[in-house]
Assembly symmetry: C2
Amino acid sequence: MTRNDEDPVALDALDRVTWALRRAELAVLALKEQRLRPLGMAAAHYTLMMSVHAEPGLTGAELARRLNVTPQAIASLVTRLEGRGLLERREHPRHRHVQELHLTPAGREALRAADAVIADVERHVTDDLGSDDTSELRALLNRVAKRAREA
Amino acid sequence: MTRNDEDPVALDALDRVTWALRRAELAVLALKEQRLRPLGMAAAHYTLMMSVHAEPGLTGAELARRLNVTPQAIASLVTRLEGRGLLERREHPRHRHVQELHLTPAGREALRAADAVIADVERHVTDDLGSDDTSELRALLNRVAKRAREA
DNA sequence: TGGTTACTATCAAACGCTTGATAAGAGCAA
DNA sequence: TTGCTCTTATCAAGCGTTTGATAGTAACCA
């Protein structure tokens, strides 16, 4: 019991793992954005394209669920990427109203360039940790994510 | 070398630590937002109030730097919280143009309630990890954050 | 066959944040 | 003192997102 009426909230809140998690993610994200900027690509674009690359034919709604955003946000990004010729919408073979998303060759090339940047950031972090701690960290993070989702 | 012309981007990108970091943070953040909602408080409100609680008299600009957002975003949140009577702006003793931020008694009470929710989420995660792995994870995350910032 | 349900896509409005620009005060140097 | 610089706060406009609502399509079932 470390709190009293004068100080209603324990200040050790700043030592919480979920805070450390947040700050680490913010720092890494900021670094990625900074490195990606010269390529004219935002982190959100990279994430979307990588998702489509990993699972071609993904639908907008499905993508929205995976990335934890609304379908409209996806549609907005897709429209922009489609306008740049990096992504294309195709009619779903069974559902005429639904559209599949696929990368164009230019999209694959842009993704390759962006991924080189991201891989570099990853390397910068893992070089510091070493391979054992990297594996350990990944395992722990996966446990946290799983636990948070099943809450 | 695991890639060829057909598959320009390695799919093991999905196993990267920085991806695991992102997903864990998203999952935890979503859980916090969900639990905080019944209290009528967003995670951003909680973060801001906790920061002010930890360092009373913080200025808007300073707060903006710590939370990685613009001063306008802070001002917007502060105006709202001030309107609800949770926060107050006071004139800085030396700089008349500058204003210090302080929690009101009602603000402290609201923060206490919100922090109970956050502490519960933290406990939910750490109960699963155990105290050794929790400490380890926290240490690793701090190393990652430091490394990313000094890039 | 017709009706219900579920899922997808999209439009419109509101909200929150950012970028850019403006103004006011404090500190410092000539 | 005057002038320069830094910092803070705030206004205005633009962008991206969410919430809410509408329409189209397929699957299931009475």
